[in-house]
Every structure is written in C-alpha cells, then in structure tokens.
C-alpha cells in the first residue's frame, strides 16, 4: 500500500510540475492557486448533478469554472480598471466562496467536505479502487497517470512552441504560433491537473506541487531542458521522501511532501552554485582575499631590496599599513605563502621569484 501511495504521489507531483514550469516562467505562478480554488463550485455542482464524484461531471464543471476565472481575469486586466494581480485577487475568492456555500447548503451530509477538498488526503487513495485490464488499481493512480501522460504528450509535442511563447510572445506570434492559443492550452492543462490532483493533494498544495520544484530548478540552471529534468527529479524525490516522512511521524502526506520540497528549495537558495546566498558570500570573500593578497604583493615588490625593507616588510608594519585585523592579515599572508608567492625570513616577508612574476602579471592586468 505504501508503494501505491508513493506511486500516486509521484504521478501527481510530476503531472503538476509540467504546467508549473511554464506558469512560473511566464510570471503567473499564482494563477494556478486561483485555478485550484476556483474549481470548487464546478466540482460541487458536478457532484450534486449525480451525487457522486466518480462521474465526469465534476471534472467538466471544474474546468468550466477555471475557464470562467481565467477569462474574467483577462477581461479585467484588459479593461485596465484594476492593476497587476488585483484581478486574480478579486475573482477567485467569490468563486471559492460560492463553492463553500454550496457545500454547506447541499452537501453537508455526504462525502464531500471542504476539509477533504482543500487539504486532500492521499492516505485514503488506495481504498478507492477500480478494475483495469484485470488488475485492481487505485482510481487516483489511474487518473493521475492519464493526466501525466496527457501533460507529457502536450509538452513533448509543443516543447518548442511553449518555449518560444513563454520567453518571447512577439517572436512566437511572428512565427505563426498563437501565444493566446498556447496560453489557453496551458490554462486548460493547469485546470485539468488541478482537478485531478485536488482530492489527493488538496486544492491549496496543488500550488506547491506546481511551482516549488520548478522554482528550485530555476535557481540551479538557465536551460529550459535541464530545468525540466531537475524539476522532475526534485518532484519524484520529494514524493518518495515525503511519503516516508509522513508514515514515520504519522502526519498528513501532502504537507510532508511540500515540506520536503521546501527543504530542497531552501538548500538551492543557500547553496546554488550560481546564485546561492552562501555561494555569493563565499565568492565575495574570495575576491576580497585576492585583492588583499595582490596589494600586499605590490607593497612587498615596491619595498623589495630597498633600505627600509626590514621595517616596511615586517608583519607588524604590514598590519599597520593595511589596517587588517591580526587574523585576516595572517590569513592573507598564509595564502601567499601557501601559493609559494611569499616567504618569511625571520620577521621579514620576501617575494619569491614566482611571486615577483605573478605580481608583474597582475600589475600589467590592472594597467
């Protein structure tokens, strides 16, 4: 059963990641949050239609409401009456509210409560099963597999088009792919994926599954293809580790997976080889050290074989000259000694032969 849960979680996170990549790059990550909230009334109405979640009606209803949301937001943005994200922020709450009101009016006694819809519970997924080709499989597994295959197919077939329309809508139009058609396609697969994932992942964390792994990948690479691969790797690893964590501490699964995704993100934020915060600090320190070393070398060269060499090139004088802390001064000198640029004879520092050469090079470089 654990294996099944892990498979469902992985399928769901991979399926979510595909629209997520393009949404994040198009700077509209939060539309996925708005979509996952706006589909609630569609699901409820579809449910009330046949009193069951296992008909296509909730999905159709959900996609319809998602499209209503997207179209309304775009109409509002075009009208220029509100600016920026305001359109999203005023359209999805009422739709969500209608959903909650409908649930409290009509669906109170049946298997559809806001907790389940919003928070999701993957642990129950394996109990709801269906027969497929003679095998008994969890319905969520089949559903997420179908959605993943759909998303993958669309991404593979339209990779070039999606890439161009994401990064350069104008070029895309001039090449003959309609950016708005691709936009609506993206909105459509986002909605279908959100509907498919909401009962296992929950409406709120659909957003986490869609954009956190992608954002992590964005910190690690500048290539779209590599980004897709890293995203998939993080999504799968988080699903596996998250399910194991949830079982270990007996907590909800989607929260645990998101927490792992969050840890990946924080790690990348701190240690990314290109933009990580710690990496940047290290780089700054390294550059500062190189600079300190080069001016010390310059000073030594300047006073080399002069009469005042004994005093000018002593440790104490160097420290006074550059006003470094004793610790930093030692670090600078040690770096020079380690690289064979400086040697210490008694209390006085001398440039080695290679130190002189290196210095001449840096000197030329600077002038």
């Amino acid at each position: 059963m654990t294996a099944e849960i892990i498979i469902i979680a992985t399928l769901a996170s991979l399926a979510c990641a595909i629209p997520g990549i393009f949404l994040l790059l198009k700077r509209m990550a939060l539309i996925s949050d708005a979509i996952s909230h706006s589909i609630l009334p569609g699901i409820v109405i579809g449910f009330l239609f046949r009193q069951s979640l296992n008909t296509p009606y909730p999905i159709v209803g959900a996609v319809l409401f998602a499209m209503v949301m997207v179209i309304t937001v775009e109409a509002l943005n075009r009208s220029a009456l509100v600016k920026g994200d305001t359109a999203i922020a005023i359209v999805f709450p009422p739709l969500f509210s209608i959903g909650v009101v409908l649930v409290s009016l009509y669906a109170n006694n049946v298997h559809l409560d806001t907790d389940a819809v919003l928070l999701g519970e993957l642990a129950f997924a394996p109990f709801d099963r269906m027969m497929l080709f003679g095998h008994s499989l969890p319905k969520s597994l089949v559903k997420m597999a179908i959605i993943l295959v759909m998303n993958l197919t669309i991404m593979l077939l339209l990779f070039k088009e999606l890439k161009v329309s994401t990064f350069d809508p104008v070029l895309s139009r001039s090449l003959g792919f309609s950016p708005s058609l691709l936009h609506y396609l993206l909105m459509f697969i986002t909605s279908v994926t959100a509907v498919g994932a909401f009962d296992s992942v929950g409406a709120i964390l659909v957003l986490a599954f869609m954009i956190t792994p992608t954002a992590t990948a964005l910190l690690l690479t500048n290539s779209l293809l590599v980004m897709v691969l890293i995203t998939f790797a993080i999504s799968s690893a988080s699903s596996l580790l998250g399910v194991l964590l949830a079982i270990r501490i007996d907590s909800g699964i989607s929260g645990a997976i998101t927490t792992i995704m969050g840890l990946f993100f924080i790690t990348a934020y701190l240690f990314s080889p290109t933009v990580g915060v710690v990496t940047k600090i290290r780089n700054k320190q390294r550059i500062a050290l190189e600079y300190a070393l080069s001016i010390v070398l310059y000073h030594l060269l300047h006073h080399c074989e002069e009469d005042d060499m004994e005093t000018e090139c002593s440790y104490g004088h160097l420290r006074l000259q550059f006003n470094y802390s004793p610790r930093y001064m030692r670090k600078v000198v040690h770096t020079g000694v380690r690289r064979g640029l400086i040697e210490q004879i008694g209390e006085v520092f001398h440039l080695t032969e290679s130190g002189k050469e290196t210095h001449v090079d840096t000197f030329r470089l600077h002038h």
């Binding site: 920026g84 964390l205 986490a208 907590s251 998101t258 969050g262």
Partner: protein, 375 residues
C-alpha cells in the same frame, strides 16, 4: 426587525457583527495601500504563511489562548513577508513566484504540523483547523476587544504615517529623497498588514482574508482619484460588508460567515466596476456616447453651413439624405437633428433642414475656436 433586535441583544451575533465590522475597517484601509503598491496577492501569501506559527505556538505551549496562537501567527507572518521580499530581491524569481513559494512552503509545513498533532492521542488540539476556514461564531467578547485594539492601532498608525506611506506607494525614489527611511516605512507597512491579517484569521480564515484586503480597495478605486478618499471608502466598504455578511449568514440557513462576507464584497466591486463615478465601465460608455453625440451635432451644423455656402441662393433647406452624405450615415442622425431643431439651432421643413441665425452663430464660434486651437 428581529435581526436588528438580535444584533443588539444576541451575544454571539453582536460579537460577530462587531468583530467583522472592525476587522473590515482596518483591512480595507491597509488593503488600499497593498493594492496600489501592486502587491495584491501578498496578503494571500502571508495569510497562508501564518499557519505554522499557530500550530507551533500550540505545540510549544500546549494552550489554546488566542492571544498566544495569534502571536505565533504574527511571527510566522512577519517571517513570510520578509522571505518574500528577500526572494524577489536576491533571485530572478518574480513576486508572483515568491508569493507562491512562500505560501506553499509555509502552509505545507503548517499542515504537516497540524496533521501531526491531530493524530496525537491528546485530543485538546481540536479546533486549531478553524484558523484555516475561520469560524466567526466562535468569537467571544475578548476576541472582539483584541480586534478593536489591533484595528485601532493600525488605523492610528496609518493616519500618523499617511504621508510617508503615500509617497512610498506611488514614488519610492522620492521617499528616499525626502529623507524618510524606506526600510522603516516598508517594515511599518508589513507589520500593519500582518496585524490585520492575523486578527482576521479567526473570523474569515486563511483562505478568504485576502479578499477583505483587495476587493474593497479595488471597488473604492473606481469612485475616486484621491488616496485619502479611496482609503476611507475602502475601509467603509469592507466594514459594511463584514457586518452585512455576518448578519446574512446568521439568518436561519446558517451559512458560513467568511464566504458570505466575500460575496457581499464582490457584489460591491461588481457594482463599482460597472458604475464607479471615476472609471466605471458604464460611466465610460455613457460619456463616450455623449462625446460622440456632441461631436456629431457639430458636424451636422458644419455640414449645413457648408451646404448653404456652396449654393448661391440663401435659405435653401437640405434633405436629411444630403446631410448624411456629408456627415456619414449615423443611427443617431434623426435623434440629433430633432435635438438641434428643439434647441433652435436649425429649422425644419418636412424632411429638410436649414441653419437658423443661432446655428450660424454657433458655427462662427466653432470656427473661432478652431483658429484659437491652430494658434
């Protein structure tokens, strides 16, 4: 009438109505600044980010004292807003992405903690999840007092720092030039925002609190171009919606309070978008229609003037058809001609028209106007 009676004498209803009214006053005011800064969704992110704070506060202290839980929420909220600002500044992730990431990581972690303590054998944690959806009915007098104090402080701070917040909203550079410390102003703004959101958690919950910030502001914007008026209007819209929403939800159907408040607010924003006196769609259409009509009237007069010049004989009446050949076919032609006749600018005979003396004077003044424009 019984509703009004209940409003004064029913303990729960009075608390709920008063609480949501006060909450709305503060949220609408700070929401105006949030929206104008172009950060409409940051409220949503902060609200979600408070969840781990609530749960951790409970885990560490094992009490359900609202003040303590809300302090936890506030700390988490401040951390969240700091993280969002840090992410947008230091990485290539845009503000939408940063909001989404912080929202999901914080909320996911909060949910992990919440589901973890819900399965502990000790059952005293029951009811923490009301912060997610909000349960207005659980508000007691001390909660209302807390809301009143916090909203009072928020409104007072807004008034005190109005000038600074205004300049940092519209022209961040000038704020620095004028000698205000932008970091401090941003910190004040963030603190006020978190304070309002945190006090709203119990009533409307994590998911819908953002609507109380953004929706009234978007509505108020349609009625005015002045920031002061906008803040006051937004505050009133939100406060009134809070109270009306809680009263509606208290009727026998027993509807959830948060969603009803949001629906009332949405009704206000729809009305404002359509009829708002400054930018509303209907107003725009009407004034466009008026301008068009005014323009067409002038063209009819000029056409008649031209017709009379091009004929040697003065005082000839020209048919509707001839005029429309010059002006272009318009649906409104008959209406405009009738209007001009009524005003006395043209004379009518059958289906033919002629400039009156008054009309000629108007044409002359139009020509003069044109000369002025040309200069």
């Amino acid at each position: 009438m019984s509703l009004l009676y209940d409003l004064f004498f029913d303990y729960t209803l009075r608390n709920v109505a008063l609480g949501t009214l006060l909450l709305g006053l503060g949220s609408g005011a700070i929401g105006s600044f949030m929206t104008l800064r172009g950060e409409s969704l940051i409220g949503d992110a902060i609200a979600h980010a408070t969840l781990p704070g609530v749960v951790l506060a409970y885990l560490l202290t094992s009490t359900k004292d609202p003040l303590l839980l809300l302090s936890g929420a506030a700390i988490a909220g401040i951390l969240g807003i700091g993280a969002i600002m840090g992410l947008t500044r230091t990485t290539k992730i845009d503000s939408d992405g940063a909001n989404g990431i912080i929202l999901s990581i914080f909320f996911g972690f909060g949910l992990l903690l919440l589901t973890y303590i819900q399965k502990l054998p000790d059952a005293s944690q029951a009811g923490l999840d009301r912060f997610i959806f909000g349960q207005a009915a659980t508000i007691v007098a001390s909660d209302v007092a807390l809301i009143a104090i916090v909203q009072g402080v928020v409104l007072l701070t807004l008034i005190l720092f109005f000038k600074e917040l205004k300049s940092s909203t519209f022209d961040p550079q000038s704020t620095t030039v004028m000698g205000f410390n932008r970091k401090i102003i941003d910190a004040i703004f963030a603190t006020l925002l978190v304070a309002v959101i945190v006090t709203g958690l119990q009533t409307v919950g994590v998911i819908l609190i953002s609507a109380l910030l953004v929706t009234p502001a978007a509505a108020a914007r349609q009625w005015t171009h002045s920031l002061k008026t906008m803040v006051i209007l937004s505050s009133l819209f939100s406060g009134i919606s809070g109270m009306v929403g809680s009263l509606i939800s208290a009727t026998e159907m027993n509807l959830p309070t948060g969603p009803i408040i949001v629906l009332v607010l949405t009704a206000i924003v729809v009305i404002s978008l359509l009829f708002g006196s400054r930018r509303g769609l209907v107003i725009k259409k009407v004034s466009q229609y008026r301008r068009q009509g005014h323009f067409d009237e002038r063209r009819i007069l000029l056409a008649l003037d031209e017709l009379s010049r091009s004929h040697d004989q003065r005082g000839l009446y020209h048919s509707h058809h001839t005029i429309s050949l010059l002006v272009g076919e318009r649906h409104s032609m008959r209406r405009l001609l009738a209007k001009l006749v009524k005003e006395g600018a043209i004379l009518k005979e059958g289906d033919a028209y002629l400039l009156s003396k008054q009309g000629e004077a108007t044409v002359a003044s139009l020509a003069l106007e044109e000369v002025h424009h040309d200069r």
